[in-house]
């Protein structure tokens, strides 16, 4: 192979490599029931320290991805807060992860809707990408072993929680 052919080959390889890198880096994560819940330590929203889903190992955790600018999140937040208080003593926690938002607006939202369950904050959409999220709100039920038991890409209400989440956490399904 002549030098010129080698240079042309290397140039084509570099262009294909760059295109492949661009496509792969934009790819969204695919998650499924039974997979380990995507997890990493995140800062506590409005407070010191960090938290993670792993900190709730041994309990059921309903992970809620939300943002203050999201309209359906306004109806959902009080429902989740009631659910957290009702099922907290039965081994179920609700964990909010604020995404694609700024912390001042997020804290204002929590005050306005009187949300008291624990909250973590993901800068930008890093956590949304990890959950393969397409928007907010989205909800993920994580079992006591840290595996996904339910994936719900949309808002939840009281009826949904009773029909789809409670049977799982009470072992009826």
């Amino acid at each position: 192979m002549s030098t010129r052919s080698l240079l042309a080959f290397l140039g084509v390889c570099a262009v294909i490599g760059l295109l492949a890198f661009g496509l792969l880096s934009k790819g969204e994560a695919k998650i499924a029931i039974g997979d380990p819940a995507p997890d990493r330590a995140l800062p506590v929203l409005g407070g010191p320290g960090q938290g993670s889903i792993a900190a709730y190992r041994g309990r059921w955790v309903l992970v809620n991805l939300w943002a203050s600018w999201c309209v359906p999140c306004r109806q959902e937040a009080p429902v989740l807060d009631r659910f957290a208080r009702r099922y907290g003593k039965r081994g179920v926690s609700v964990l909010g992860i604020n995404v694609q938002d700024n912390s001042d607006d997020a804290l204002g939202f929590l005050r306005e809707y009187r949300v008291r369950y624990p909250q973590l904050r993901s800068v930008g959409d890093e956590r949304s990408a990890a959950f393969g999220s397409t928007g907010v709100p989205e909800n993920f039920l994580v079992d006591p072993r840290g595996r996904l038991a339910l994936i719900w890409r949309g808002p939840v209400d009281g009826d949904f929680l009773e029909a789809r989440v409670v049977p799982l956490v009470e072992g009826r399904r």
Binding site: A67, S68, W69, C70, V71, Q100, D101, N102, S103, D104, D105, V123, G124, D125, E126
Partner: protein, 168 residues
């Protein structure tokens, strides 16, 4: 300051009032100096350099609820007197690096600046080499004149014979 005092005495202000006048003048100039030192930025100046990360467009083109919140944050930071650079730092801390419309000048982002520059340099070199080759190819070889472009060898002999036959 002594020059200022001299100027005030020239204006006919009594010595006891002089230092009061100097102090008042200094106070009246101070805000102007501060404004000149930190030029105030504007929403327009910032929103054409940052993205609405969820919308995937420049903030100035976005009208989604998330963009409106981001714009409100920019306005709040401007009201606090932050510079454009400080505002961008806050936006990166809140929304991540995806909020910047321009790639940073380090790491992999550097390739966004380097690749076009290298491609341009290679194109210039390639063009230079091509032009020089083309000019060399179109130039007659050394020692080659118009006569030597005629027929050679057998052809030349045949031509000579033909010309002799016509007795020109």
């Amino acid at each position: 300051m002594s020059q200022l005092g001299g100027f005030i005495s020239l204006c006919g202000i009594n010595p006891p009032s002089r230092w009061l006048a100097i102090a008042m003048l200094a106070l009246s100039l101070a805000p102007g100096v501060a404004v000149a030192a930190t030029p105030r930025t504007s929403v327009n100046d910032v929103e054409d350099e940052v993205m609405c990360p969820i919308c995937g467009t420049l903030l100035e083109l976005a009208e989604s609820p998330q963009a409106q919140r981001e714009r409100a944050l920019v306005k709040r930071l401007i009201a606090e007197g932050r510079t454009k650079s400080e505002i961008k730092d806050v936006l990166v801390a809140q929304y991540g690096r995806a909020v910047l419309a321009l790639p940073s000048g380090s790491g992999f982002d550097l390739s966004a600046y380097l690749v076009p520059a290298i491609a341009f340099a290679l194109a210039v070199v390639g063009l230079g080499v091509g032009v020089s080759r083309w000019r060399r190819a179109s130039r007659p070889p050394p020692g080659d004149d118009a006569q030597s472009k005629g027929p050679r060898g057998d052809d030349a002999e045949r031509l000579k014979a033909d010309l002799a036959r016509y007795d020109l």
